[in-house]
């Protein structure tokens, strides 16, 4: 089996650990070897959370620079910051709804221009899928379902060796039953957004 490497970057609180957990479960259901690694020590204090997930027959749980097949960014400036994980064959997906870090408010940095950010990502990767995932999450009924919107988008690329059915079943196993319908709607909206990109 081909090895596929996925990097997810997010800001603490955006729910990327749940997204990773769903993908891990989907891989188990699909009988795909999977390993992941997370750095999340200070996630609750507003820092960056990075998950590396390796599908297929590899022993490593981390992904070196330039070696991601798929990059999913939950926050636009964090997607751009993770560009060093990409090469010209990487598919990048980014949410376009910014969460400026506090350093911007106290004048210690300038938030990147969103058009320029997309141009840079598009020029240096094989494909960029960029859309406002927060808006779609709101349409689905809860802004917190951004993670499921992006899960739908990354599933649509069909880069990872798990089917839509496996991933949806994993959502049933891993997310709260009360939110399942909403999460599935969010997933579908993300899937459609990626299909149209």
């Amino acid at each position: 089996m081909d090895i596929k490497r996925l990097i997810i970057v997010a800001v603490g609180g955006q729910g990327n650990l749940l997204a990773s957990s769903v993908l891990g479960e989907a891989a188990l259901l699909a009988n795909v070897p999977v390993r992941m690694s997370e750095i999340h020590g200070m996630a609750q204090r507003g820092g960056v959370v990075e998950s590396a997930i390796v599908f297929g027959d590899a022993k490593s749980t981390i992904i070196s620079d330039g070696e991601a097949d798929l990059l999913v960014g939950f926050e636009p400036s964090e997607t751009l910051r993770a560009l060093n994980k990409c090469n010209n064959k990487t598919v990048a997906i980014t949410n376009l709804s910014p969460m400026p870090p506090f350093t911007v408010a106290i004048g210690k940095g300038v938030y990147p221009d969103l058009n320029d950010l997309q141009e840079k990502l598009r020029a240096k990767t094989a494909k960029l899928i960029a859309f406002d995932a927060v808006a779609l999450a709101k349409t689905a009924g809860n802004v917190l379902s951004v993670n499921m919107v992006l899960l739908g988008a990354l599933t649509q690329t069909a880069i990872l060796p798990m089917s839509v059915e496996h991933t949806k079943q994993a959502m049933k196993n891993k997310t709260k039953p009360a939110f399942l319908d909403l999460n599935l709607k969010a997933f579908d909206l993300g899937y459609e957004a990626a299909a149209g990109a």
Binding site: E25, S37, I39, K59, S60, T61, I63, N84, V110
Partner: protein, 619 residues
């Protein structure tokens, strides 16, 4: 039921490395565990804490790692299988106990888990704790993966019991915080009930006895060496002439690199999992089968130096290298690309690294450092101290906890930090030799961990400084664990005592003690001014529950969030002096995110125009 207590072994479970270690120990008869929390080991203990509430397992959060080690030492010498769990620097604290416990030994298995942190994701150094095994004469096991960690920890308990000596189980962050599917075996949680057979001639380490115990320890190490020689954790893969000796996660990167470089027919890998004592004969035989050997290990050249010494004994002259500027670094953690490049360089294989996206034309992206939470009481305390000390030459030693983040601008309230408790221990000397006003910061848990001796010493030696104890009612940084000062009602648990920080401080003889509520800014500033005017040791206890922790507490009422009103004249003191992440700039004016704001009202108290008010109830 806790997920790790399931007896359904029909399917694999996706678990974090730390969960795998907890489950593995529970499958191997663990009955007793003690810890002081520390990343990257914290989830092992957190799971034990939860599981102890539903099973026979005894678990405790001890005041520091040394106490945890002593607890485990006594339990294991009463015939109860035990674990002491800590991060790498925690073992420095526990080392005094461990070095002599090695002489005394154990009756039941005792595993000492040290979680090392290469790259210092959440630590003050990246010391390589494998040397503790050598220093103490302890057997050591090191897993390479989550699955192996689960199996190995059980084996470690068994080896400890067989040899009657504590076993060091050394992980790194990438084991603790990786996730992988594991197979489950039946649970076998022991009962924490033992019997202590008095034997002072082997237990009371006066010099005459210790001289004899050291001999016994060396005998045990000889037996450990035999186990290491035949251990399945020291295995060889491949039959080529290019040797690679590796341990821990380096094995994963080396294995993947062998495949990626297509050199499987040329290489021979010796993976060391039982790493003290080393399997001397196995390594010597391996060297004789190779014509050059690369040693891949994160951290210090622990294996490399031993392997070179073995080669010398056998008069072997093959090339052996590890730490070298074209090969592996002693710094930080490895990754697959580092291993691939080092192997290509060492074995002389043509190799082009993958083309990394060129980021030279990407504008600088604003940093996103972790920050004190919106409404964090530490921010209020730091602000009040800063205002109270205006006009003085100050030095601010700090300590280890969330409040270390106070070192970031705009608060910038941290000048010196080396270890747990150093805020107190360094204060007297800074004051003595500089004459500056020294104001130290320490959290409640860190105060109990190692702040108390420093304070006793300061009172005795009549030092002159102010210690600010930031009491937020929990060990927040590592995930809200209890400590001796907390109310255990918050965890819905009874049967615990509680130590009053104020009583401790007063009973140590501190003459000037003030308790403040830091969210009341002006009162706090006044109290701090008095404390820093005092000649001698003064203590401020700043009491306010951690905002993150408070979210789950019924006893803490939710407060209204605040907003910036039209009275704002754009001084921006709120943004520029507090650095609260609930603020953002909207059209170049401060605004407050009502979802993030928890209503601490600190900004409202410092606004010169009184322009920040609670959000009105909707009609």
């Amino acid at each position: 039921m806790h997920k790790l207590l399931t007896n359904d072994q029909s399917k694999k479970m996706m678990v974090l490395g730390n969960e795998a270690i907890a489950r593995g120990a529970l499958e191997a008869g663990l009955a007793f565990a003690a810890t002081y929390p520390g990343t990257p080991s914290s989830e092992i203990s957190l799971n034990f804490f939860q599981i102890s509430q539903e099973s026979d397992l005894y678990f405790e959060y001890s005041a520091n790692e040394k106490v945890a080690m002593e607890m485990a030492a006594a339990a294991a010498n009463s015939g109860v299988r035990s674990m002491a769990i800590m991060k790498h620097v925690g073992l420095n604290v526990a080392a005094d106990a461990l070095m002599t416990l090695a002489y005394v030994g154990v009756k039941a298995g005792l595993v000492v888990l040290t979680a090392d942190d290469p790259f210092m994701f959440s630590s003050q150094n990246e010391q390589d704790n494998r040397y503790y095994a050598k220093l103490g004469g302890l057997p050591m096991l090191e897993p390479s993966s989550v699955e192996e960690a689960k199996e190995m920890v059980g084996q470690a308990l068994g080896i400890s019991e067989q040899l009657q000596v504590p076993v060091l189980f050394r992980t790194t962050t990438r084991i603790n915080h990786s996730t992988a599917p594991v197979d489950l075996k039946p649970l076998n949680i022991g009962k924490p009930e033992g019997k202590f057979d008095k034997d002072p001639m082997n237990y009371v380490t006066v010099p005459a006895i210790s001289r004899r115990l050291h001999v016994k320890l060396l005998e045990k190490l000889e037996k450990a060496k035999e186990l290491s020689e035949t251990s399945p954790f020291n295995f060889i893969e491949g039959t080529g002439k290019w040797g690679i000796i590796c341990s821990g996660v380096s094995y994963n990167y080396v294995s993947d690199a062998v495949k990626d470089l297509g050199i499987g027919d040329k290489t021979r890998i010796l993976r060391i999992g039982f790493s003290n004592p080393l399997p001397e004969q196995k390594i010597k035989a391996f060297l004789k089968d190779c014509d050059q050997v690369l040693v891949a290990e994160e951290g210090e050249p622990f294996l490399e130096e031993a392997v070179k010494a073995f080669a010398q004994e056998e008069a072997l002259t093959l090339k052996i290298k590890g730490k070298d500027k074209d090969l592996f670094s002693r710094l930080y953690e490895f990754n697959p690309a580092i291993a691939r490049q080092a192997m290509a360089n060492f074995f002389g294989i043509p190799y082009t690294p993958p083309a990394i996206a060129d980021t030279s034309d990407v504008p600088e992206i604003p940093n996103r450092p972790p920050n004190l939470c919106a409404g964090c009481s530490h921010r209020a305390t730091f602000y009040a101290v800063k205002k109270a000390a205006v006009g003085r030459n100050t030095i601010y030693p700090t300590d280890i906890g969330c409040y270390t983040l106070g070192f970031l601008p705009p608060l910038s309230m941290a000048d010196f930090l080396i270890c747990m408790g150093s805020s107190v221990g360094t204060a007297g000397a800074f004051s003595k030799v500089t004459g500056d006003k020294v104001i130290s910061f320490i959290g409640d848990s860190t105060f109990f961990h190692s702040g108390i001796p420093g304070l006793a010493s300061a009172v005795f030696n009549n030092h002159n400084f102010t210690l600010v104890i930031l009491d937020n009612g929990t060990t927040a940084m590592t995930g809200h664990q209890p400590n001796p000062g907390v109310q255990m009602d918050d965890w819905k648990l009874d049967g615990y005592g509680r130590v009053s920080i104020e009583n401790v401080v007063r009973s140590l003889g501190v003459q000037h003690v003030t308790v403040i509520k830091p969210l009341k800014i002006n009162k706090s500033i006044d109290a701090i001014k008095e404390a820093i005017d005092y000649q001698g040791v003064s203590v401020i206890i700043s009491e306010e529950v951690c905002v993150l922790f408070a979210k789950g507490l019924e006893r803490v009422k939710k407060r209204k969030s605040f907003r910036v009103t039209d009275r704002c004249k754009n001084h921006q003191d709120c943004v520029k002096e507090l650095g609260c992440p609930a603020f953002y700039m909207a059209d170049d004016r401060p605004a407050i995110d009502p979802v993030m704001c928890v209503g601490c009202a600190v900004c409202a108290q410092i606004c010169p125009e009184n322009a920040i008010s609670p959000v009105k109830d909707k009609a």
